[in-house]
Symmetry: C2
Subunit: 211 residues, 2 copies
DNA sequence: TAGATTGTTAATCGATTAACAATC
DNA sequence: TAGATTGTTAATCGATTAACAATC
């Protein structure tokens, strides 16, 4: 599969493609054309074909795309079939909510271990996972090599925790701390989930209405 | 203030500008130049000046920007000073986490009421808010006119809840359901917080590394 | 075969960057 | 005044859309 230097806007559309094609797959749809995808997604058919062609040729002239095959190809592009593992650091309300409700499997991850720094939590069980002390994280990582870490620690602990994780050889940070992390040159990938940014944009949009 | 037809990329950068300028303000910084902002934000100085100039002239030649003034102006642009109110629908783990930990005030919102459909939760208190039954939402909205609704209901209830909220006159939906909502022509603004999309992009990025 | 639809090239559109006159 | 830095125009760059030959 081609995969070099894909533009960020393309990459950010991939999950939406996946969700759409997965929905079609689950409703037993066999084939789909770029124009049908266009209606569902609100992107132009041209853009959809252009985006897919960054990674290969998945369709067939006169027919369209086979849903099952397309779904598999997008999984491959996204790396969902790599069997990645995740750990979660910070078992507060948000961490707990993710452990209980978020379907890691569906995004291609297995949640392997959870950590907290509060002694009163350590040893407790959360959805079948024992809470480990964050002091044991580095040893755990050295042995188990988890791929990504879910950061649900308080904002104040964000930078410190990020550095610990980077030093532990984690390759990706899924960052819920509402803080930008400074981790230059460490080659670690970061995805921020910035609740407040999203709410501010919504605030702008409803203010905009008034003009 | 100018506010017509601002490009989406500009709007999406505004919260990051705000967080940065707010940090400067809180550390008692008086003035800042576009080049200093550039270093902190990773945008070019040119882009920063271009972005600000969409909304007015906030700086001064030879001096830069007054931090306090700039912070205020961005608040105004984002609509953070409009005294907007919010309600939250769905008091599961994630809803609970937001109620407890998210600083609505800091983003310019006041959380006014919370709703759930589970009878066993109705009447309980959560961080000082009584849980109301979702059947009373429409009456509540008719009386109190909340501006936005935080949707933390299960995915299956997403579309139904969105329609109820639209019918209740809510102007903005902050959508945590991981589902795209279909609300054409209702003039309602939606901001999605799609956890799974974000994790899939991270998955792509760490896969990308291998090539 | 005729109709449909891809993958790709070329054209357009929009966003970012560079440059600089204005001026504090 | 001299140095610094804005706001804005023009140039560049990149992303999206349109068009169409290839072909199933």
């Amino acid at each position: 599969m081609k995969r070099d230097n894909i533009a960020a806007p393309v990459i950010n559309r991939l999950p939406k493609y996946y969700r759409c094609v997965d929905d079609l797959y689950r409703s037993n749809c066999i084939r789909v054309s770029s124009s049908t995808l266009s209606e569902r997604l609100g992107f132009t058919a041209s853009q959809i074909r252009q985006d897919f062609s960054c990674f290969g040729e998945f369709g067939q002239q006169g027919y369209g795309y086979n849903v099952k095959k397309l779904r598999y190809e997008i999984q491959e592009i996204l790396g969902m079939n790599n069997g990645f593992s995740a750990i979660l650091v910070g078992c507060g309300n948000l961490g707990h909510a993710l452990i209980r409700n978020f379907d890691f499997k569906r995004a291609g991850f297995e949640l392997k271990a959870i950590f907290d720094s509060r002694p009163e939590l350590v040893g407790a069980e959360m959805e079948g996972h024992p809470v480990r002390h964050v002091d044991t994280l580095k040893d755990y990582a050295a042995a188990a090599h988890p791929d990504v870490a879910v950061m649900t620690v308080p904002s104040d602990a964000a930078q410190e925790t990020a550095e610990l994780l980077a030093a532990s050889g984690i390759r990706g940070l899924w960052n819920f701390t509402n803080r930008d992390l400074r981790l230059d040159d460490k080659g670690i990938q970061v995805e921020n989930v910035l609740f407040s940014d999203s709410l501010m944009v919504l605030c702008y949009k409803i203010s905009d209405d008034e003009y």
